[in-house]
Amino acid sequence: MNDYQYDHQTVKGFIVSSIFWGVVGILIGLWISIQLWKPELNIPPFFTYGRLRVVHTNGLAFGLGIGAIFGISYYIVMRLTKRPLLFPKLARFHLYLFNVAIALAAVSLFMGMNQSLEYAELEWPLDIGVVILWVIFAVNVFGTIIKRKEEQMYISLWYIIATVVAVAVLYIVNNITVPAGLFKSYSVFAGVNSANVQWWYGHNAVGFIFTTPILAMFYYFLPKSTGLPIFSHRLSIIAFWSLVFAYLWTGAHHLVYTPLPDWIQTLGIVFTLFLIAPSWGSVVNGYYTVGSDWSKMQTNYLTKFFIMGITFYGLQTVQGPTQAIRVVSSLIHYTDWVPGHVHMGTMGWVTMTVAASVYYIIPKIYNTEIYSIKVANTHFWLVLIGQVMFSVTMWITGIQQGALWKATNADGSLKYTFMEGLVKNYPFWQLRTVAGLIFTVGMLFFIYNIYMTMRKGKAPAASQA
């Protein structure tokens, strides 16, 4: 059957696009990491730190993250419904529109059109674009699932459905604004209330962009590449429902000690502590799945990507609830500790899992084998070293910052001026740039490997479900 060929081209298009935007985002990440210790690299007006940082986060969350999520979800949906996409032409249009939207998004952010809402910086015309992209995705995913040829919906489909529903609600609510011209708007929410809406959104962007769709990939590709069935179906059910229930209560952990009413902070902190349980439900499920045959770690090169990815996820979901506790927050909030936490998720969990999924998909749709397992292993070790070094340097300097800001003399006065604290970050910020470089080189090995696999593969062949 050749029905899949066209859809696979679309999937491939999304993967290639997401890698492209990933490279853009990573290079800007390196640039801003240098700006922090070498401010001469600020080039006004378009390339100052304040604008570039936003291009970095959006480029990677929307370009790399969402691009990969669109493409890989389409692939998973086709496999699990045992049929091609219901609207193949629409999916192709989706791909083109996605790239146009991300390009315009990048340009608009360089120009400083910015709503100042973290991970929702895009101004209202682009918000409309994002909503259209999401509706197209929803129509194709739901349509294909409804017309599926396999009765049971596997775990990955649950996570994809939850993603589609949750992101729609989150994105629309947080972006309700009153336009003041084509390039500027003001939020309908003000002050404390807007803070509450924003961090409900911000935390759940983490939950439903960097967690649920990535878990969908994890639950699909781990058993596929190892041939081992998921350890416990019941655990998957419990973990799924408790995760999608609890995440929404916890945004206030980003607002500890701010003027947000105390009861919302406390409620947020309590649910955050609970969040460790559903997160570790999936971690345990992953470990025990491979636990039935640890030799897969050696015999199948992808296994270690998934196990390392879920390990980062596991560490991060222990660290996250800890950060929400008031005394911990008072030390690490506003410091570099937080980027240390963030990048364990984005560089470790998300990028490892996405890369492994791509390693699985590309040879399948080209009907070939991966170009080089050795190159994949080099890629693995470089991104692992780069990521660990990144986070460790940020944790150290973050704790140092927090401690210096709090340090007092015997008479109770502050021990360090702000500048005296700032200069102590510089060596760590330099090391972070080195860590980022190592990670980037790792990603280049990945890209090279994928490129060579595509070149060696024949014209994309039909692949059976």
Binding site: Q35, T48, G112, W158, A180, A195, L248, L255, T258
Partner: protein, 310 residues
């Protein structure tokens, strides 16, 4: 029975939506309709057109990626930045600009901390004030003028009152003027309190400088002076944004005052209209009591004295 749902995608999506909405309603939608989410301090005023233009620029330049605008109710934080933030200070911010990362210092109490001239010079070249600062230069904002037509729309959308003259005036202002005007209004709805720092009452510190005529202390004081004071009082104390420290005037009246009056001014800063020893302040001297301990303040005074002898 319960397993049915894994075979019915629409049903599944509806149940998932409901589960997602429970926490959303409890922590976000419900609070929206309570008064606690819409507080306003009595003396908080809407932004003027110039200030709003500055706030727009603050957002456009992404200053919030390096600066926060909330002081937490923690002792050391209040000492460093000033009174902790109140919920009713942000009513006119759509959205809030609290930020999440302090690469630079918090700005919640920046309004009135420095004179305008300090901000102009600092934006133009932060490194001339703090050699090792990593803040980008923003002097180029001087080259763009504000657009009154745009700003009138922005004021309308926010529902802020304005006059025609106020809008027309904007065409003579630069983006840098607007940004400085915005800096000067941030956090001013809360009355500036004396810094919550130790040693503020005169009874708390020695009336005599313990380092009087101590050259070692003066040498230590030089470092402190160069880092914190030279930008306003000149490298040799000759004056600039702030008055000369080497003439025999003190707060604009002839006749120098003893060290403990220096201590008072450096520790507490000054406030427009306040009277000290019969001398009226113009304001613009930031308080250092929160950042420099007793000894360091005395050392910097010793250094100033050594400059005066030159």
């Amino acid at each position: 029975m319960a397993g049915e749902i894994y075979r019915k995608p629409i049903m599944f999506a509806i149940v998932a939506a409901v589960v997602i909405l429970i926490g959303t309603i409890a922590t976000v939608f419900f609070p929206m309709f309570t008064e606690g989410m819409h507080p306003k301090l009595e003396n908080l005023k809407p932004y003027t057109a110039l200030q709003l233009a500055g706030k727009d620029i603050y957002q456009r330049e992404g200053c919030n990626n390096c600066h926060t605008q909330t002081v937490r109710p923690l002792k050391t934080e209040v000492m460093r930045y000033g009174d902790y933030s109140k919920a009713g200070e942000f009513t006119y911010d759509r959205p809030f600009l609290w930020g999440s990362k302090r690469t630079g210092p918090d700005l919640a109490r920046i309004g009135g901390k420095y004179p305008d001239a300090w901000h102009h010079n600092h934006f133009e070249n932060p490194q001339s004030f703090f050699k090792e600062s990593n803040m980008p230069k923003y002097g180029w904002l001087k080259d763009s003028r504000l657009d009154p037509v745009d700003m009138e729309v922005h004021m309308k959308v926010n529902g802020f009152p304005y006059t025609k003259e106020e809008i027309a005036d904007l065409s003579s202002k630069t983006e840098l003027d607007a940004l400085v005007a915005y800096m000067q209004v941030i956090g001013t709805a809360v009355k500036r309190a004396a810094p919550a720092a130790p040693g503020k009452a005169s009874s708390d510190h020695e009336v005599e400088n313990p380092f009087k005529n101590d050259p070692k202390a003066a040498a230590l004081g030089k470092d402190i002076y160069d880092q914190n004071c030279a930008m306003c009082h000149g490298t040799q104390g000759e004056g600039g944004i702030g008055p000369s420290l080497t003439d025999d005037m003190f707060l604009y009246i002839k006749g120098d005052l003893p060290d403990d009056d220096y201590y008072e001014v450096i520790h507490n800063g000054t406030e427009q209209g306040k009277v000290e020893e019969g001398r009226t302040m113009k304001g613009g001297m930031p308080p250092y009591g929160g950042q420099l301990d007793k000894n360091r303040i005395w050392q910097v005074i010793s250094y100033i004295r050594s400059l005066q002898k030159k």
